[in-house]
């Protein structure tokens, strides 16, 4: 596995001492347990969700293998296993198992996993304080969105006055179907980008990684925008 320079930097910043607090044996940054005595170690501050599962920072992932590993680690990290241990070990277990749970929740979901990777790679999504790109209409959708907004307005008006326009209802359903199809297409595109990303990681091709990162970020923004549209249509249809 190759890592870019900035990642190496964050790891060396970690404040965990390298020795196991129980037996003094040297430990690795991402170790959850001491290799020598097997006891629970405090979590190093620089490690990522990928590190907990000893996974490379790639986007294609065997979710079933991830689940198996999650269960295996849960048995060893969960506070239940430390109910009779020292307060310090209980605290570590709480911190480590919450990190494990957060990691599993993020990595098993393809979108969350992709967003998390972008964040690790220094690209902030909209709700992380980045610019609100999803508010901007993707250029190829301008016309479609314009028409949809008119229809949504009309639907809301009808609702207020108690009118029912079957044609409008049909139009909105059609729009929803069209957006759902686009989401499916985007998902397929996202998987292609995953493969490209994983390949560039394997080849340690940094310029290529940069380019793909940007592509993925743009695709996620577009996807988020469409999701919001689908939600608005759902709301209008359900009232």
């Amino acid at each position: 596995m190759n890592q870019s320079a900035d990642v190496v930097a964050t790891i060396t910043e970690s404040d965990r001492s390298a020795a196991c607090p129980f037996c003094g044996s040297p430990t690795e940054e991402a170790d959850l347990f001491c290799g020598a005595c097997g006891r629970l170690l405090p979590l190093a501050s620089g490690i990522s969700y990928f590190d907990v599962f000893a996974l490379p920072r790639k986007l294609k992932l065997d979710v079933q293998a991830l689940e198996r590993e999650f269960y295996r680690l849960s048995r060893r990290l969960h506070p239940d296993a430390y109910a009779r241990a020292s307060q310090q070990e209980q605290d570590w277990s709480l911190a480590n198992s919450s990190f494990l749970n957060d990691a599993y929740r993020t990595l098993k979901d393809p979108i969350k996993r992709t967003e998390y990777l972008l964040k690790l790679e220094g690209i902030l999504s909209a709700d992380e304080g980045g610019t609100k790109k999803e508010d901007r209409v993707p250029p190829d959708m301008l016309e479609e969105v314009f028409e949809l907004n008119m229809q949504l307005d009309e639907m809301r008006m009808n609702r207020k006055t108690g009118e029912d326009d079957p044609q409008l209802h049909m139009d909105l359903l059609a729009a929803k179907t069209s957006f759902d199809d686009q989401l499916k297409a985007d998902n397929a595109n996202l998987e292609l980008l995953w493969e490209k990303w994983d390949a560039s990681v394997d080849n340690a091709d940094d310029p290529r990684k940069h380019a793909i990162k940007a592509e993925i970020a743009a695709l996620l923004d577009r996807r988020r925008y469409i999701r919001n549209l689908v939600n608005s249509v759902d709301e209008a249809l359900e009232g």
Binding site: Y71, S74, R75, H78, P79, D80, A83, R84, L94, A95, S97, S98, F99, N101, D102, Y104, R105
Partner: protein, 657 residues
């Protein structure tokens, strides 16, 4: 024994139970009256009976007799008030005779008035917990100080904290709060560990929960949970009560709404009718009202079913939301487990079958374990996992979720979610805050729980004041706040100013919680007599035991087996009998127990001879004490209160053992 036993407690709205793992099987511990269910009813008799017994609380069936004579001294369904504020319980107040202190402000912990004293809901629950603790101590003959307590899965942070506080007040270290439906799944999972997806439908006295779990090689992973903490069997009772009150008003022109005694009488009759309708197709609602007249009404099951349909319908939406959150369809549910007394109602069962598409797939919901006991049994399983463990629980691990999203109030009163509902716990989130004004040294954070967009529509959990931020230009400090929901579903918060590396000081103002100092003072108040209480109780029990055996020995010469004993044996029994007769009027517990044991041992052979000659039942190894019962000397008859509501409907369930 080197290690104390950890007990599992089901602290219910209507009934509570305590259980423990006896070897590889969980077992419910009976109370002094021999009954397993302890009604969650607390009576606080007037203090003027004597200084020593001032503020003593009577719990369970014993409290019931006060319901008729002085209902204002009896508190039940206190669980409905746990962790709630005055503005949350307006609906409850219409239906339940809670006497609240008059000066409670919104945002304050509730206080209940009994005579001249006030009690928080946690204190009332502590009385119930202390009773359960004592039942266990009497059963083990040893002290108990650690427990697992169950809570509705849909309980929020404040309600969980209030339950934990109650445990502390009762002198219990609460090792874990476990969600009730999950506990039920553990109890079922003990015997039948095969993988699959299980839904637990839990309709109790006051709350409804639905949990969907994935079982995999001993791991119980909750996929999603949902529910309603204002929905349960009580709502069904209240519908029937309302009809009875209307009838009486119409027929006789008497409005009994404000008459606590009459409403209580109607409630009792309504519960009996409800239970009868689970077995029969019609029943007679029969109420003896104060003032000497009778109210009667025939109720048919079909009528009852259409009456309660709106209540049952309210369980549908949470089930659908849970399925959606779990990302599965009803047809993917392999098994459904029914929990809570209200699931004995046939209509509830048929509705669940339909909801989860069981009938079409040739399946039935699971009801093998008594729905009143299954949660306590599961709590005992979790208690066992957390203590020494056993072969049965060795591979079991429960991964539960937080039922509600955790959020922070952002600009404009909008909620920024930091931990989503149905996240596996422990769960955490890290957020960064900064200052808006030059030199600002503190930042206020409002934490809420719920799914709504605006903070005012969510449940306010606490306000945190981050203090001691080093004075810097506006926007420069970077305060990292870590929110962590622990395995009990309770929030912990820590903060750090990253530029200075200084641990920021956090002042937590829980919206509906008690401070540590308040909890501490409530422990002391109940502790004052807790110790002497146990001694007193043990002495009384030892005396009862002595009386039982003495009565049996006095009857012994009437039995043919007596003549088969040797002279020495008879003399020895006589001597020990006289010794015990003297000691039983004393106060020395140790001597009394010793003498009882000695007499019991001395009569061992007699008991055997007696058993041998009795019919053909081979009751080998019995001693005088137990043989006494067959001589018709059984002590203290059970109180009548619990039986009515909780008598299992015929043919509906088997006992757990």
């Amino acid at each position: 024994m080197s290690e104390q036993r950890v007990i599992g407690i089901d602290l219910g709205t209507t009934n509570s139970l305590v259980a423990f793992m006896a070897g590889e099987q969980p077992v419910v511990i009976p109370g002094e009256d021999g009954l397993l269910l302890v009604p969650s009813v607390v009576a606080i008799p007037p203090a003027d009976i004597g200084a020593a017994s001032a503020q003593r609380a009577i719990v369970g069936n014993g409290a019931a007799k006060y319901l008729a004579s002085s209902p204002d001294r009896v508190i039940y369904s206190a669980k409905r008030l746990m962790g709630r504020g005055i503005e949350d319980i307006q609906e409850e107040l219409k239906l339940f005779p809670f006497h609240l202190a008059e000066d409670i402000q919104p945002g304050e912990v509730l206080r209940l008035r009994v005579g001249d004293s006030e009690y928080t809901p946690s204190e009332i629950s502590a009385f119930v917990l202390r009773q359960l603790k004592q039942n266990a101590e009497r059963y083990f003959g040893a002290a108990v100080s650690k427990a697992v307590i169950t809570v509705p899965a849909y309980f929020n942070d404040a309600q969980r904290q209030a339950t934990k506080d109650a445990g502390r007040m009762a002198g219990l270290e609460v090792l874990r709060l476990v969600n009730e439906p999950t506990a039920a799944a553990l109890a079922y999972g003990l015997d039948r560990q095969h993988d699959g997806i299980v839904a637990v439908y839990d309709l109790g006295g006051g709350t409804f929960d639905i949990s969907i779990l994935k079982l995999h090689e001993g791991i119980f992973e909750v996929m999603a949970t949902n529910g309603d903490t204002h929905l349960g069997g009580d709502d069904i009772d209240n519908l029937l009560i309302a009809i009875a009150l209307d009838d009486i008003h119409g027929d006789r022109g008497i409005d009994l709404r404000g008459n606590a005694e009459a409403v209580q009488a109607i409630r009792k009759a309504v519960i009996e009718a409800k239970i009868a309708l689970s077995a029969d197709h019609f029943t007679l609602l029969n109420v003896e009202l104060p003032g000497g007249f009778k109210y009667q009404r025939k109720i048919e099951r079909a009528q009852f079913e259409s009456l309660i349909q709106p209540v049952l319908d309210r369980t549908t939406a949470p089930c659908k939301r849970a399925l959606k959150d779990a990302g599965i369809t009803a047809a993917e549910i392999d098994e459904v487990v029914l929990v809570g007394g209200s699931t004995r109602i046939p209509k509830v069962r048929s509705m669940v079958e339909e909801l989860f598409d069981l009938g079409a797939r040739g399946k039935k919901p699971h009801t093998e374990l008594n729905p009143d006991e299954v949660v306590a049994l599961g709590a005992a399983v979790q208690a066992n996992i957390l203590s020494s463990g056993s072969i049965a629980t060795e591979s079991m691990l429960l991964l539960d979720v937080t039922p509600l999203s955790l959020g922070i109030e952002a600009l404009g009163g909008v909620v920024a979610k930091v931990i989503q509902r149905n996240s596996t716990i422990p769960a955490s989130a890290t957020e960064h805050f900064t200052t808006g004004v030059e030199g600002q040294t503190n930042v206020a954070i409002h934490v809420v729980q719920g799914e709504r967009e605006l903070a005012k529509d969510c449940r306010s959990l606490a306000r945190f004041d981050l203090k001691g931020i080093p004075p810097m230009s506006a926007g420069l400090p970077r305060i990292e706040v870590k929110f962590l929901i622990d395995a009990n579903g309770i929030l912990q918060v820590s903060a750090r100013e990253q530029r200075s590396g200084k641990q920021a000081e956090i002042e937590v103002k829980p919206t509906y919680g008690l401070t540590d100092e308040q909890v501490e003072s409530m422990i002391l108040e109940s502790f004052d007599y807790a110790e002497s209480d146990i001694e007193q109780r043990q002495l009384i029990e030892a005396k009862n035991e002595a009386n039982t055996i003495l009565a049996a020995v006095d009857k012994a010469p009437l039995h043919a087996a007596w003549k088969q004993l040797s002279n020495e044996e008879r003399t020895r029994i006589g001597l020990l009998r006289d010794e015990l007769a003297v000691l039983k009027d004393g106060e020395d517990l140790k001597l009394l127990r010793g003498a009882t044991e000695a007499l019991d041992k001395a009569t061992h052979r007699f008991a055997e001879l007696m058993m041998d000659s009795a019919v053909s039942t081979a009751l080998q190894g019995k001693t005088m004490e137990s043989a006494g019962e067959s001589l018709g000397e059984a002590p203290n008859a059970p109180h009548p209160f619990a039986a009515a509501e909780f008598k299992p409907a015929a043919g509906h369930d088997s006992q757990p053992q």
